[in-house]
Structure formats: structure tokens, C-alpha cells
Symmetry: C2
Subunit: 315 residues, 2 copies
């Protein structure tokens, strides 16, 4: 347990609910509380080429944002790149000038674009960053032809290779077997990023650690896409009682309280439609839209998900 | 899986939040939806000698309540007795005349009063009821002298012997080992009743089933004492996708929606103080009072729990 690193990605994954706008006072209070918590990395947001729709400043994380973070926080700073939005040519304008502001660049990788992501990783490594792969859809990796055979390409390039349970649908036995399989192929450190559709975020993360994972993600109050993530307060409380991890519960209580009003407003967390999408490995993007618009009844959402799951055309 | 029975105890365990008063329309809608769900038992409330403070009608479940339930529901009906409140002499006035209204009598048993509970079980069995023991504090059973040696006294008397994770603090490995140990001592069917302080309700219940448990509890939206129980909608969704259990998701959606306003009002579910109490096997009774009075800050609650855990006097 001593060697396991913890990454908080509340601003990055929670941004799905606020369109990556966060009140400055909240960010300040978050950063200050995190200083007293046993966290290794804070993922502040994305870096991205400009998109056509409006997205808030933590989707772009300009230097001004990162400088402000550095002034308050001594933690290592991470940003995420969406591989699908970023070409090799984008790297220099996006990240060519800020190794002093960013420690770790994570890349969200669709397993079918693994080769392209390896090229990006080489570019990032050459720039001097720590590099992580967040490889999505782990419950479907076995369906991707040759996926496991190509993994050794990350050796020497990727510091952290994350299993991402995008659908919140994997069970501890799956986590144990996939961590073991991945560790037999690569020498990067293995990470786990869980979603909480079936309230399996904690046990999947503990199982990943037991199986040899060396970095894990969580967010304050589980704020994150769809049903949300493993709750940081749950992870820290558990690691404190189980392994004696030192936790300042006053700081933890402060940051949990600080995000209370946002949760009251956006109501993230699991519910029946997210449970159904998790249990059947269906994307939560659609569910998130249906639920947030409060336009469809629970029943019709669950029915639509069941139809998708049964291969019936959506209604 | 086919042989596993499911008991819903929303009214009984959820009553901690409503003082065992429930709106009749809600109960009616609950009972009707449950008719379409794969549930074997509904636990409607307690039977109890009159207590000095006010407690609502589902704490006493007079015949009129049970008759009304029987008119709507074809499910088997259960009530719970608190062993600490009920002597052998109370049995006849409490339950001597209603084997037509109640199928299963569960007894909440403090492990230190095991012998007394066995006497009650004999009385209940003689009256013709199915009998269950809900033995509390499973995370502390190993601390009770001779606890496991006396278990065979339930053979022939107790139909279901429940492991109750009162603190919401056990992990799947604990569940597996305790179910196995109990099954080696007794021939009653084994049950599991989990609380959700650490969001381990689902995985602990699945683990209990895997280890041979034959009946499990859950409640709608997890409504139940303190941090609440395993959510019935999560259990059914999971058993549907994992084992092909037939679930009418429209009925499930209806009953989940019906309890929405109550949850908005009472805000049950886990939070940082409940996580701390679960992780350290501390009673959630105090936490429930502190949290519901909104009189203390999260910080002071967590601090108080930590002090209890460290053996420091409470503040």
C-alpha cells in the first residue's frame, strides 16, 4: 500500500457536470484542502484544440490557470488529452512550452486507436512529461482484436497504464484478472480509474491495488461523468482504517463540504438508469443527457436501455 | 442463484427515517409494484410491546395493517422482533393469534444474548411461524466468547440465520469466511443483511451468495438506518444482467420513483461520517442523530468518531 499513488481528478471528470466552469473560490478551497491530504497528483482539466461548442476554462487549462494552481498547490499537476481530438502536430502548440506547469500528461485512449496513441506518447515523452495512458472500455478489451498483443509498445514510453472502467460495469474478479494480464505484458506502472454505476468503485479499486496497481483515481463526492467516480472521501477513509494511511479528516471534511452545493445543484451519483447501463456495459453519455434533461421518465429510460441491450432499435 | 430468496425490508428498516409512519398511498404503490418483482418476502415492520416514546404504526403492525397488506400482496409477509424488548411471556399476546397474517418472524439478536434468543425461537416455532435470526454486529462476532460454539442450537428451530453487517464495515473476504464458518456449524439457511456505509452492500451480498447464502435483504433506494442498505434496484439490476433473473424494470422504476420524495426529505445514504463509522465498526446510531440534527459540522462529527475510534472520550 505504501507505494500506491493517488490522483484526484475532481475538476477534470467533474467538469462534465459544470461544462468545465468552476467558481474560483471553490477551486481555491479545493486546492488548499488537497495540500493537507495524501494525494500525489491533481488533474486540473483537459488541454485541447478549440472545439466548436462552448467549453469552460478547465477544458483548456491555459497557462494562466495552471500558474494560479502552482501558486497554491505543491502537488504534481496533471492534464488529460483526448487522443481522438489531438494529432501529433497539435502537441507542440498545446504542450510545447509548459513542462514547468504540468508534470503528468494523461491520454484518454480508445483501444481501437492504440497505435496512434503510442505515437502521441512518444511525442510527449520527448517533451519531457510523465505520460499516462487512460485506456477506456476495459470491459470490452477482450473484444478488440490483438489488443493485448500490442501492449508492450508502451514500455519505456508510458509511466502509468490505466485500466478505465468507462461503463462502471466491471466486477472485482474482472479487475484482478485484467490487472494481472496487463502486468504480465508491460513494465509501466498500472493504474485503475473506476466509475460507480454499480457502487463497485471502492472494491474494484482495492482489488486493483491488491493485484498490483500502483496508482488509483478518485474524486471528491465522486463528482464525475454520469454516475460518477469512486468517492475520494471513501477511498481515504478506507485506506486510513485498513492500512493506516494518515488522513487529515478536517481537511477532508472541508473539501467534501465545499462541493456540497454543486452536488445539490447537479445531483450526480448513480441511479436506476446508470445501474442498468453499467450492468450491461452501455455508454452513459446518452443516459446522462436523458437524466439531466428530466424529459423522459425513469421507466422510459430504463426501457430504452434494455432495448439497446437487447439490440432492439432505440426509442 | 435460482435458489436464493430476496427479502425487501424497506418499510421496516426505512422506518428509522419516518418513525415508522408511511403515507398509505406510498405503501399501496410499493406493495403493488412489489407484486411484479422477483421478491420472496416483504418485511412490513416490527411487532413490539408498547414503548414509552411515540412510534408509528409500522413499528407495531397491528392486525389491521397486516390484513390490509394481505389484501394487496401475495408475497410472504415478515415482521421483526427486537429480542432485547421481547420476553417469552410477550410472545403469546404479540403473536399468538396471527399465523394467517405473518409468515416469517425475524428476531434481531445481539450475539451476547444468543441463549435468550434461542428460547424465543422455540416459542415462535411452536406457534407455527417460519423463524429467522438476524444476528447483529458480525464484524465483532469473533470477540464474543464461545459465539461460534453455540450456533448449533439453532438447528431445527431457525429457518434462516442472517449475518447482519450492522456497522456497514465488513469486506467481501470477511463475508466469505464468516458465511463458510457459519455453514459448517448449522443446517439453517444462511442469510445476509448489509449496510452501505462503504458502498460494499452489493459486493458483500454477491459474495455471500457465492459462498452459499440462500436469502439476502435489500431496500428500495437503500432506505434504512443510518447510511442505509443495499439498494434493491441495484441488486435486481445486477442479478438480471449477471444471472438472467427476470426483472420488470417498469415496476422497479415505479417503486424507485415513488420513494424519491421521501429520500429528498430525509437524505438517507452514506456520507463521510457514516463512512468513518463503518470503516471503524462504530455504531451509526449516534452518527444518525448528529447528522439529522444538522447541529454539528461534518468536521466535528468526523473528529468525534475518530476520537471514539482512538478511545479518546467523546466531545
Amino acid at each position: 500500500m505504501e507505494s500506491v499513488k493517488i490522483l484526484d481528478c475532481t475538476l477534470r471528470d467533474g467538469g462534465y457536470y459544470t461544462n468545465w466552469d468552476f467558481d474560483e473560490a471553490l477551486v481555491d478551497s479545493y486546492l488548499k484542502s488537497c495540500e493537507s491530504l495524501p494525494l500525489d497528483y491533481l488533474e486540473i482539466g483537459y488541454r485541447s484544440p478549440v472545439k466548436s461548442e462552448y467549453l469552460g476554462k478547465y477544458f483548456y487549462c491555459p497557462d494562466s490557470v495552471l500558474k494560479a494552481v502552482r501558486q497554491v498547490s505543491a502537488k504534481k499537476i496533471a492534464v488529460l488529452l483526448n487522443e481522438k481530438d489531438v494529432s501529433l502536430d497539435d502537441l507542440e502548440p498545446l504542450l510545447g512550452h509548459c513542462t514547468d506547469l504540468i508534470d503528468l500528461v494523461r491520454v484518454a485512449v480508445n483501444p481501437v486507436n492504440f497505435g496512434r496513441a503510442v505515437t502521441l506518447a512518444r511525442g510527449l515523452k520527448d517533451m519531457g512529461y510523465e505520460v499516462a495512458f487512460n485506456v477506456m472500455y476495459m470491459s470490452n478489451w477482450h473484444k478488440v482484436d490483438g489488443f493485448f498483443d500490442q501492449l508492450d509498445q508502451v514500455n519505456g514510453l508510458v509511466d502509468y497504464f490505466y485500466l478505465v472502467d468507462s461503463f462502471g460495469g466491471v466486477y472485482p474478479d474482472d479487475v484482478r484478472s485484467i490487472v494481472t494480464q496487463v502486468k504480465s505484458k508491460i513494465n509501466s506502472k498500472v493504474g485503475f480509474h473506476g466509475h460507480n454505476n454499480m457502487e463497485l468503485g471502492l472494491i474494484n479499486t482495492l482489488t486493483a491495488i491488491e493485484a498490483g496497481a500502483e496508482i488509483v483515481d478518485a474524486t471528491i463526492r465522486g463528482m464525475g461523468r454520469g454516475a460518477g467516480n469512486l468517492k475520494m472521501e471513501l477511498l481515504l477513509t478506507c485506506l486510513s482504517s485498513k492500512f493506516g494511511l494518515e488522513v487529515d479528516f478536517n481537511a477532508l471534511g472541508r473539501v467534501v463540504a465545499a462541493y456540497g452545493p454543486l452536488q445539490d445543484m447537479h445531483q450526480w451519483g448513480t441511479n436506476l438508469p446508470y445501474m442498468v447501463s453499467g450492468a450491461n456495459s452501455l455508454p452513459q453519455k446518452d443516459v446522462m443527457e436523458w437524466v439531466s434533461k428530466r424529459f423522459y421518465s425513469m421507466n422510459s429510460i430504463v426501457q430504452a436501455l434494455n432495448n439497446q441491450s437487447a439490440g432492439v432499435e432505440d426509442n
